[in-house]
């Protein structure tokens, strides 16, 4: 165990929270946003679909999946930047060791 500067730990935390906030903004726009403006979107067509239908049936889901992978990838980069690459889990609080 060694002590690390709390400022660095907090910078790490804020970087993660900022990432999550940005990703959830996209999430909100493609789900709730698209539903709120469904009638207006219905005038446009994409690949044969009325646009509101496309967003509900395909667009939003594809964006959700991309956002999750972006989160996993960028979070790994943040971990690396702060030198916090996780190796194996340590045994604490009822966790079980895996060899």
């Amino acid at each position: 165990m060694k002590k690390i500067d709390k400022k660095i730990a907090d910078a790490y935390f804020h970087a993660r929270v900022r990432l999550i906030a940005i990703l959830l903004l996209f999430w909100f726009v493609v789900s709730f946003g698209m539903v709120l403006f469904a009638e207006a979107l219905a005038q446009y067509t994409l690949n044969g679909f009325p646009l509101h239908y496309f967003m509900g049936a395909q667009g939003s889901i594809v964006v959700f999946i991309i956002l999750l992978f972006v989160n996993a990838y960028i979070s790994d980069r943040i971990d690396q930047k702060y030198g916090l690459v996780e190796k194996r889990v340590k045994a604490t609080k009822g966790q079980t060791l895996q060899s």
Partner: protein, 553 residues
Amino acid sequence: MDTQFLVSLLLIVASFGLYIGIAVFNRARQTSEFFVAGRGVPAIYNGMAIGADWMSAASFIGLAGTVMVLGYDGLAYIMGWTGGYLLLTFLLAPQLRKYGRYTVPEFIGDRFQSKTALVIAAIATIIISFTYSIGQLAGSGVVIGRLFEVDAKIGVMIGVVIIAIYATFGGMKGITWTQVAQYIILILAYLIPVIFMSLQITNNPIPWLSYGNVVSELGELDRELGISEYFAPFESASKWQFIALMFSLMAGTAGLPHVIVRFYTVSTMKAARWSGAWALLFIGLLYLSAPAYAAFSRFILMKQVAGSPIDSLPAWTDKWVNTGLLTMADTSGDGILQWKEIAISNDIVVMATPEIADLGVFVIGLVAAGAMAAALSTAGGLLIAISSSFSHDIYYRIINPRATERKRMSVARWSILIATIVAGVVALNPPGVITQIVAWAFALASGTFFPALILGVWWKRANAPGVIAGMIVGLLVTLTYIFLAKYGGFTILGIIDTGAGIFGATSAILTNVIVSLSTKPPSQKLQDEVMDLRYPEQLTFKDGEVWKDDRVI
């Protein structure tokens, strides 16, 4: 005994032989392995297991039919059941993994240091998981019942026996690898008919690209008939109901104990993030295909079935008309079956369409095997959640803290067995249609666990009285709204029973915050534990300082 029966039976038996074989092979030895598979499952397989747990009878059997019947409004289920994974993976899963407890109630009990909160959470887990598993067992009964052409009740009994055997003896480890196999069979069973129909109708083997034109053609057919277009928004319910339902399904996803417990099976916070991403990719494959399935089914029914003479309908119609879930009556008396004269139940669309489109005995049998996998795999995850709640949270922590590992193991197995049988008995005569029961389970999860977990992880000031009051209020508001909307005709902004979770979650969050702030803050130790969740696995927050553990194990 026709060929179809033999092929379907063979495929179901072969797939179940595979699942049970894997479960027996991995038979759990120790309690910790039994509950969370020793926390060593790689992210990609864990993603598949989450997918199999997730895609229940409601998703596999009911979803495409719901989209077909409701049109655009049915897409609330598609967006809600996928979008919830972002809330879960971003806001809860990594933190809950780091906290390192076996079950959700245990997390709530320790985070708030309150046995009362633990017991309420354990009871809520049991109520939610039990309600949900009734739907699954009822779904398996329909499939088995149709297959053997016996009453669905006998089908339920057969399903109960199968699930009880592998859940009791395999534990979660058996189930994790069993679920991976189930996911693969389930997704193949779903995609193959969609791809075949896409080829049949559009000559394009990629349904996701080809069905857009089918959707607009359906709109044209509807205009000719003078009914509202297939894709017209908010025809069956208000826009607020769409939003409330979508929210309720999303928040419920983030709060469902049997899904969250899967994130305990990975070894690090990093693995929890990747598990969530893989899970949605695997789940998304089915959810992207369901609206295509719906569009093709409706197209075939409108173009090939509607308009035929009433006395020369194809052979499959009789079989489904006999189930009572399909009616075709020539009410206009012109000798021709019109589209408006066909009444098809949501629940048979996925099962019946391969027959209607004449995709062959193998594809029809595969869909039956997939439907069984969907119903029983979810039931397996739910029954484990019930069993953990009872044996670990109620029995070991409250009733008998000195119980030996052997004794706890035996309580866990007995509680799975008893829960399976009781759920089976209720499923013999289900209290509502499957999709309805499942939506209620989600509403209850969004009214109880979602607020408790979000505030527990992200707000260190949240305390025991707050969470206890919040869970109770959320549970009562959700239940009351479901009953008032369903039986009392009371609605707000056109939001019906399935959207009740939005009121439950709002009132639970408000109650939790108000009660927490007006009572004294949690101890410094508890607040430190919440601070600790901000940092990754190898950092520890203690007395205002952050420590790093460089040991590699």
